[in-house]
Symmetry: C2
Subunit: 329 residues, 2 copies
């Protein structure tokens, strides 16, 4: 069990999920003693639905993915993915090293037929609800075919997670006019236009938060920058708000008078509600939680994995790809 | 005079600048009648320092750059750039069509020796002050050499605008580890490391707003997305704040009690203070104002142009390039 907090976050979050989902059971993969410590005073009914799978190794948060893959065959990460491969688990959730998780999942589970490369997708808030964006950094060099496949994956995730019949797809570009952008987006636009997806056309960075389309597709370099810019700007604005609301006595009084408004605002912008980035295009459900997640955030990541498994997102993506690309699933 | 508001914004902003800068004079390029309307009741001393240069054409905000370049030789945009070329003006400021302005400035003024492509640079706020970022969209396909040249331009603009002796440079990437990213950033990192610039290393999207470096360099595709994501997220957060502070009577009372704090916050995040993106790498100073700028914002763009001209940013960039690249200026 990785992430910054290990079992002290992962186990309570799992127990909470089990409590509200009677049909679900969990395998807690990690150091038996550390996990066991978190399992005292748990009602028998809940305990009956979770078992501990002891592992002896840990993948470091900064460890090179290739090194983790070669040398850490009894890490909680590797074993959790192996359990998905073996069909013992229907999904795997990890707060560990993203690169190592992607490398491990890619190696063990393999990509689906019709998928050249897996991608990372997450939900972001928007003015009209939310937007799914991919790829977020798994692929820093993409082909137009990769972007088309990402679009299919994003669409099926949006159908499964948000129950949208035919999610709209925007292709991230530097302008919305048809001639804008580089060769990659031009070629991808041709493929998307020729597909049976609900393709909207080019969108710009601001459209992610305007909610112009349900899904925004881009290469992993651009997607990673967009995501990190979001984190950086949100952090800066929060800091400025804290500073201004505590500058002097009248400002502190204003903060006090605004407690309920500021709380509602924080809830609305709470990134923990969007925690859980799915690794898609693999023959199995794998969800990556932010390393610094708390119980509330990690629970959201498990919930995402649970919904994806319940609705067979892997099968859905496979079916759509087969239909679209003529590949045998 | 372009932009969404034309002379009704450009002329009053110019007059304000002249009022506080006694040594400066202005050439107002546009339709004589429309400009003249804005010049009634102007003190004689100010009027003596501005003259109107009549033009008969206008470049549309959505007009194709190539078409504007070929067919609009008496547009305010073209004539203003021509005046810089002729040495009659030391800088040109426009709120018009960005693509057309870049194409016109590139064609008329030409790039500096040692510069393959001009770039667009702007200031963004950060937790520690501000960050200069380039390119913002002029170049959607860049080489490592382009990025090195952008770094030199950004550094000299930072020295001129913010009086920083040796501005630090970050190269935008998907992680800070040396092996991260695509070939472009790997190659650019080698060039930057070998240069005498104050090169910090890779930065991520969040570092723009953390203020990790004075200058952030990236290709125009990535920079444009980063800028537009910023606009979109800021708009969304503003909307959420407005909604929460007007949801019901207690929320409206909280807004009233917080008027001074919200005002201070708005001032701090006011994008108008950052209006004015410089077109750099050209043999002349050209600044692009946002199309929807008001008087306050446009004045800021003129101020930027004035400071760049006063401190000979073009000569500074030329000197640094010559020193760095061994080109004859």
């Amino acid at each position: 069990m990785g992430g910054d907090h290990g079992p002290s976050v992962v186990v309570p979050a799992t127990l909470e999920l089990l409590r509200s989902n009677p049909g679900v059971s969990a395998i807690l993969v990690g150091d038996q003693a550390a996990v066991g410590e978190q399992l005292t005073r748990v009602p028998a009914e809940i305990k009956a639905r979770c078992r501990v799978h002891h592992t002896t190794q840990v993948v470091g948060m900064d460890e090179a993915p290739a090194k983790a893959l070669r040398g850490k065959k009894d890490s909680s990460m590797r074993v959790a993915v192996d359990l998905v491969k073996a069909g013992e688990a229907q999904a795997c959730v990890s707060a560990g090293n993203t690169g190592a998780l992607m490398a491990t999942a890619h190696y063990v589970l393999k990509t689906m037929p019709g998928v050249d490369r897996p991608a990372i997708v997450t939900t972001l808030p928007s003015q009209t609800g939310h937007t799914l964006m991919l790829d977020l950094g798994a692929n820093v060099n993409c082909s137009a075919e990769n972007l088309l496949q990402f679009a299919v994956m994003g669409v099926e995730v949006a159908r499964v997670l948000y129950d949208i019949a035919e999610p709209s797809v925007g292709l991230l570009n530097v302008g919305t006019e048809v001639l804008k952008g580089n060769q990659l987006v031009q070629d991808a636009a041709s493929l998307l236009t020729a597909s049976d997806l609900n393709y909207h056309g080019f969108v710009e960075g601001n459209d992610i938060y305007a909610g112009t389309t349900d899904v925004v597709v881009c290469d992993g370099f651009v997607g990673n920058v967009a995501l990190k810019v979001t984190e950086g700007l949100a952090t800066m604005i929060s800091q400025f708000m804290r500073e201004e609301f505590s500058r002097d006595l009248p400002s502190k009084a204003a903060a006090l008078a605004s407690t309920h408004v500021l709380k509602a605002l924080r809830r609305r912008l709470d990134h923990r509600r969007y925690n859980g980035a799915s690794l898609v295009g693999l023959q199995g459900v794998v969800v990556k939680s932010h390393g610094s997640s708390d119980i509330y955030a990690f629970r959201h990541a498990i919930q995402t994995a649970m919904v994806e498994a319940e609705h067979d997102v892997v099968g859905q993506i496979g079916g759509r790809l087969e239909q679209l690309l003529g590949h045998a699933a």
